[in-house]
């Protein structure tokens, strides 16, 4: 128990830290954990089907599962028998004590008669029942034999318990290992649209936290469930065997414990939910005020923020006190029940022993049984929680595993080693949602080596178009041909290995600069890496880094600037030597000199390659062989710069507003100091 709680909470630490760094990644309040029942009571939508499927994961290990069950069963049986034998040992001692008090050599009948005539009828019964030999002390041979039996029982039971744990542990780990592998494989088969329509944080938590949770449920719930249930049955049975009267008394504690666990448990779950909510609310506030600290200060909001903090902190204090107090009561309350039945059994047992209806050993055995009884009961209660949370996690994971996959591949054609880069769209139609056509009946052709600039306002579908070339999405109609071959007849890998891609968000993985460049072609030599770096202006700044190409790039950047990251992604595409290029020009605020480097690098990359560029730079657009003007997901115009300007259509308007600062070309006044209109990129044109 201690182990899993710990790791949970630690995942929480990393989760919270991750959030603050990349604010879309994680909801920290969800990843947080605390030691006792802090996780939100997440409920499974359909408990039983999901639970069934969860345990179905164990199916390949069926034989071993039964072995585990068998081992647990035997171990529990032995553990349950042991106190009874201990009780017999106790009897041997007790009888020896009584016996030694009696005159040696006197026949038992006589002693019993004597006792009865003294008015100690109960004692007489006791003597008679226990078949005490007057005058004889403790029978150490018998005592030793019983003790050895007990030890033997316990040793075997412990060994079996260990063995089942050992087997189960390896088994569950194997199952979880496979589950993790399945999930990863699934991620590779999911279409990109799956990732587009969901929050990254949500997917992340399904593949990490939820799997951890499943592991925990399988590991603990299974063996403990079997063990607890069997122990309860076994102990109950033994109690009845020893003395059904006492058993009935002891069983009174069962509903009592159940009621206490139920009443307090439900109450404390509610309080934990409240604590949870308040923790989230406070942590949210802390995150917010720390992240926006400069603003809070400059706008003079310190006091309001502090007041809000105090308010939420106080609420959390109250909620968590309630939760901890009520949940803390469960243990003493359960103890009370257990002590209560202990007292009842001590009294009732004492009375029965005194009257000879029960041996002292049985009474002590009984006391031990009643003590061991409450433990599995409360364990079961705790397990219900864990199981519920585990099944809820399983459900979320299964959802991911069941998600629709990319259309399976059935490649009927292959490409030559290197294509010419002749791309043709033939009546291409694409929509994300059935009723929302995005690209309709689009046709155009790109000759090898040509540059296609795609322009249009944000959200026009520019990215979608290039994604179609990559076959990240499947078409709803029409064909895309590469060197005359329908790309759907190719394997995705075959197609994509022809294409190099540089995206706006300069994704690099955690590793050295060299590794990141080599990502474009895994078998590239160090010289080739340097060559690519040289061609794409990466070499210059890498040489200035203390570790050069071995500089490690961490996930949050830090070591290198945004512009430099961009350059590395260009080098990565360069080293791949693709015949087709897809470039997304960055608009982010890279300083101008780095920006210039990026432009040069991109230009170097474009040379002699068919390129699709989501263009923001005028120079790129004007140089392009074809400009596709997109609006609301449609291509409204296509042609080169001059022809489109002449048409005075959408491109003309876009060009004028986007690139000329709202001024029309002909009537542009001379810029003066007082004029609010400022320099546009074209001014440079004039000066140059």
């Amino acid at each position: 128990m201690v182990r899993r709680k710990k790791t949970d909470a630690e995942t929480g630490v990393t989760g919270a830290a991750a959030t603050a760094v990349a604010d879309e990644e994680f909801q920290p309040t969800e990843a947080d954990g605390d030691m006792f029942g802090g996780t939100p009571p997440r409920k499974a939508q359909q408990f039983w089907p999901s639970a069934k499927r969860l345990f179905g994961l164990l199916a390949p290990e069926k034989v071993k599962m039964w072995l585990v069950v068998a081992l647990v069963t035997v171990s529990v049986v032995l553990t349950v028998i042991a106190p009874k034998v201990l009780g017999q040992a106790m009897d041997v001692i007790f009888n020896g004590v009584i016996g030694s008090q009696l005159p040696e050599g006197a026949p038992l009948d006589q002693v019993v008669e004597q006792a009865r005539s003294d008015g100690r009828g109960d004692f007489a019964d006791l003597l008679e029942k226990a078949q005490i030999v007057p005058g004889q002390g403790i029978d150490f041979t018998e005592l030793g034999r019983l003790i050895l039996i007990v030890l033997f029982l316990y040793i075997i039971a412990s060994t079996l318990m260990w063995a089942q744990g050992f087997i189960l542990n390896a088994l569950v780990m194997r199952v979880v290992f496979r589950l993790r592998q399945d999930i990863e494989a699934k991620l590779n088969r999911l279409p990109l649209s799956y990732f587009d329509t969901r929050q990254r944080g949500d997917i992340m938590s399904r593949v990490t936290n939820d799997v951890d949770n499943i592991q925990q449920a399988l590991q603990q719930a299974f063996s403990q469930l079997v063990q607890s249930v069997l122990t309860i049955i076994g102990i109950a049975a033994m109690m009845f065997i020893v003395s059904w009267q006492l058993a009935l008394i002891a069983l009174i504690s069962l509903p009592l414990s159940a009621i206490i666990a139920g009443v307090i448990g439900v109450r404390s779950q509610k309080l934990f939910a409240a604590q949870w909510k308040n923790t989230g609310s406070l942590n949210g506030h802390i995150e917010e005020s720390f992240s926006g600290l400069e603003l809070v200060r400059v706008f003079g909001r310190d006091r309001e923020m502090l007041a809000e903090f105090h308010d939420r902190n106080e609420k959390l204090y109250r909620a968590s006190f309630g939760a901890q107090f009520v949940s803390g009561i469960i243990m003493p309350a359960m103890m009370f029940v257990s002590y209560l039945s202990y007292v009842l059994i001590a009294v009732a047992g004492g009375l029965r022993v005194a009257s000879g209806q029960l041996t002292l050993g049985d009474a002590t055995a009984f006391i031990q049984y009643s003590r061991e009884f409450s433990q599995p009961v409360s364990q079961l209660a705790g397990m219900a929680n864990m199981l519920q949370s585990g099944v809820a996690s399983a459900e979320r994971t299964f959802e991911l595993l069941d998600a629709d996959e990319e259309t399976p591949e059935s490649p009927t054609s292959t490409l030559p080693g290197r294509t010419n880069g002749h791309v043709e769209f033939e009546g291409v139609t694409f929509r994300y949602a059935e009723d929302n056509p995005l690209i309709e009946d689009l046709s155009f052709s790109v000759e090898p080596g040509q540059t296609v600039a795609i322009v249009g306002p944000t959200g026009a579908g520019k990215t979608t178009l290039v994604n179609l070339v990559m076959r990240f999405y499947e078409l709803n109609g029409g064909r895309i041909l590469l060197d005359g071959i329908d790309v759907t007849t190719l394997s995705r890998a075959d197609l994509r290995s022809q294409v190099g891609m540089v995206l706006q968000d300069a994704w690099l993985f955690e590793g050295t600069i060299r590794e990141n460049i080599r990502y474009g072609r895994l078998d590239a030599t160090d010289d080739e890496v340097t060559e690519a770096a040289n061609a794409t202006m990466v070499d210059r700044f890498v040489r200035q880094l203390p570790d050069g190409y071995d500089t490690v790039i961490d996930a949050d950047g830090g070591t290198i600037s945004a512009g430099e990251r961009q350059l590395i992604t260009i080098a990565r595409a360069f080293i791949a030597q693709p015949s087709l290029l897809i470039l997304d020009e960055a608009t982010s605020s890279v300083d101008t000199r780095t920006e210039l480097l990026v432009q040069h690098a991109m230009a170097a990359l474009r040379t002699d390659r068919t390129s699709f560029v989501i263009a923001h730079r005028l120079s790129t657009i004007r140089d392009a062989d074809t400009i596709l003007v997109m609006e609301n997901g449609r291509i409204v115009e296509q042609g080169n710069h001059e022809r489109l300007l002449e048409r005075r259509g959408a491109y003309y308007t876009l060009y004028m507003t986007q690139f000329r600062g709202g001024e029309s070309e002909e009537h542009r006044p001379e810029v003066t100091a007082s004029s609010p209109v400022t320099v546009s990129p074209l001014d440079g044109d004039r000066k140059a």
Binding site: V2, I93, R180, V298, F321, Q324, F325
Partner: protein, 577 residues
């Protein structure tokens, strides 16, 4: 050490509660310890002599003891929970206040992410440890010592069993815990490792697919998965050993008590009841030892957390408190005199001997390449940190003499990274001035070119904004940030590269209307685009820590090579074919 000192310091105000916990735990433990002794009497004086009245009477006593036990235990839990949660609350409060005091420099030294973790998760860990300590660690030693005393009272002759079994159990459990703790850490590393690979796979999915690197990534993942599984199996294997081994020790002890106790009973040195009582005491002692050791497992982690918290609490801010009698500036003339600023430990300062004046009613622009110290310069004006030397004044009053309220009333900031707070558009716009009217908000939105998109939202000004402003686009966020500063109507406007997410046309329109809106105020703009600053009354060119040139656009084109370089780089990027 930090853990102990923090716990003691923060528990101090609740000394009485802690004392109550001790008293209650003591009583409840005594009650729990008394029960086996009463049971022994039932056996020895009741059962063995057939005295049923005695059995009944003692039974009633036991019942009373039970009630006392549960009541005191609940009392202990009550005060334990109150103390621990109060300690957590106070600790959080002090961390929050401390962070509020620190300068931007000191905060940057920690990093916002870790400060958040320290203020939330770390405090929670310490709080849980305090709770566990009060609930269990207090009672465990009492139970242990009390159990030993009671056991000795029953029979001194068997006491050697205590002296043997307690250390044996202690050593076994300690060894197992000692093996587990480093394994836990290792496992956490491996979990972080596999999660890291997955995170990269998800964030970089397009690149991975574009370069057909799925097999490569899968291989990386598989390795991480195998490494994690190996450690998990090892941890599990130690874990499954724990329970059976502990049970073995307990059962061996039981057997030994019966065997050796039996001999003492036979010799008349001990009574049967005492034997059962002794047995129960021994089990209670061993349980307490076990509990204590398990609790110790929590400590290493809480220690780390406490140290991290202590680092924050122990940081003395370099920002000296202002005297508080300075007059509030009304004009907004900002002057830097010989300002030098550097990060502690850095070889070279970020800014060196900077002097300039930003006049009210005029626009001062600052250009320079990344890392030239432009944002640092802006941060110094609202005194988010102090320079090492030199002075920064607003209307000749040093900013270090101004209270936070005064600075807030004079300076308005539009940060480089546009950040909004959870709430609504209106609540964000009113961030700097609570009493702004709706028309004023709309006016500011109009200037900031944000009126259209806010208008397009069905809820208008009441459109909800999520934390950080993630539910609006980057450009919209930036425009709202600008409007927020405008609503506050400060005397000094600081725009820290605030137009980068806007397209050129919007940028132009915004700056056109901005001039009027900022009126006679001082405007300081940091920018990348030459077009953004071309109209400025004064342009400061920052390069390698210093102002290398100043003047208007035209003047600088003539006089400054650096400026020309910057301009030309942009022209060739944006204009030259």
């Amino acid at each position: 050490m930090a853990l102990l000192s923090i716990s003691l310091r923060y528990a101090k105000p609740y000394t009485r509660f802690v004392a109550a916990v001790f008293v209650f735990q003591l009583l409840s433990t005594i009650a729990a310890l008394y029960l086996p002794s009463l049971n022994a009497e039932i056996i020895d004086r009741g059962v063995a002599r057939g005295d049923t009245d005695f059995i009944w009477a003692t039974g009633m006593t036991m019942l009373t003891v039970c009630v006392v036990q549960v009541v005191t235990a609940v009392g202990g839990v009550y005060f334990g929970a109150r103390t621990a949660m109060a300690v957590g609350r106070d600790l959080r409060r002090d961390v929050y206040r401390k962070v509020d005091e620190l300068s931007a420099l000191e905060i940057g030294g920690f990093g916002t992410a870790t400060l958040i973790t320290r203020g939330t998760n770390d405090v929670q860990q310490v709080q849980m440890l305090v709770l566990m300590t009060l609930n269990f660690m207090v009672s465990a030693p009492i139970m242990c010592v009390g159990g030993i005393i009671m056991a000795l009272r029953e029979d001194v002759g068997l006491s050697w069993l205590v002296w043997v079994s307690v250390p044996v159990l202690f050593i076994i459990v300690s060894v197992l815990v000692g093996i587990l703790l480093p394994l836990f850490r290792l496992m956490q590393d491996r979990i972080d490792g596999i999660n890291g690979v997955l995170r990269e796979q998800i964030t970089g999915i397009r690149v991975i697919r574009a370069f057909v690197r799925e097999p490569y990534e899968s291989e990386r993942y598989r390795t991480a998965n195998e490494r994690l599984t190996r450690v998990s199996v090892r941890v599990g294997n130690v874990f499954v050993l724990m329970f059976p081994v502990i049970m073995m020790v307990l059962h061996l002890a039981t057997a030994a008590v019966l065997w050796f106790g039996g001999q003492r009973v036979e010799a008349g040195e001990m009574q049967v009841g005492s034997l059962t009582a002794f047995l129960q005491y021994l089990l209670q002692i061993l349980t307490a030892v076990m509990m204590g050791v398990f609790m110790v497992m929590m400590i290493p982690r809480a220690v780390v957390c406490a140290e991290r918290i202590q680092q924050v609490l122990g940081t003395e801010t370099a920002l000296t408190a202002p005297r508080g009698d300075a007059r509030t500036p009304t004009v907004g003339r900002v002057e830097f005199r010989d300002v030098t600023f550097g990060y502690p430990g850095a070889e070279r300062p970020v800014l060196e001997n900077l002097s300039f004046t930003a006049e009210p009613g005029k626009t001062t622009a600052i250009v320079g390449s990344t890392g030239a110290g432009k944002s640092t310069l802006v941060t110094l004006i609202p005194r988010l940190m102090d320079p090492q030397s030199g002075s920064i004044t607003i209307d000749d009053v040093p900013v270090s003499q101004l209270s936070r309220e005064q600075i807030a009333s004079v300076v308005g900031l539009v940060p480089q990274k546009p950040y909004l707070f959870s709430g609504t558009v209106a609540s964000n716009l009113r961030f700097g001035r609570d009493d702004a009217t709706d028309p004023e908000l709309w006016e500011a939105l109009g200037v900031a070119q944000g009126a259209d998109f806010v208008n397009a939202k069905p809820e208008g000004l009441d459109t909800p904004i999520s934390q950080g402003g993630t539910n609006v686009s980057g450009g919209q966020r930036q425009r709202l940030c600008i409007a927020r500063a405008l609503v506050a109507k400060p005397r000094v406007y600081l725009f820290d590269d605030s137009f980068s997410a806007l397209d050129v046309a919007t940028d132009a329109r915004l700056r056109a209307s901005l001039g009027e809106a900022t009126g006679g105020a001082t405007v300081i703009i940091v920018a990348q685009r030459v077009s953004t600053i071309r109209e400025a009354d004064q342009i400061l060119v920052l390069d390698a820590r210093r102002i290398v040139a100043r003047g208007t656009h035209d003047e600088l084109l003539e006089s400054s090579d650096t400026y020309r370089e910057i301009v030309e780089s942009q022209l060739s990027v944006e204009g030259v074919a």
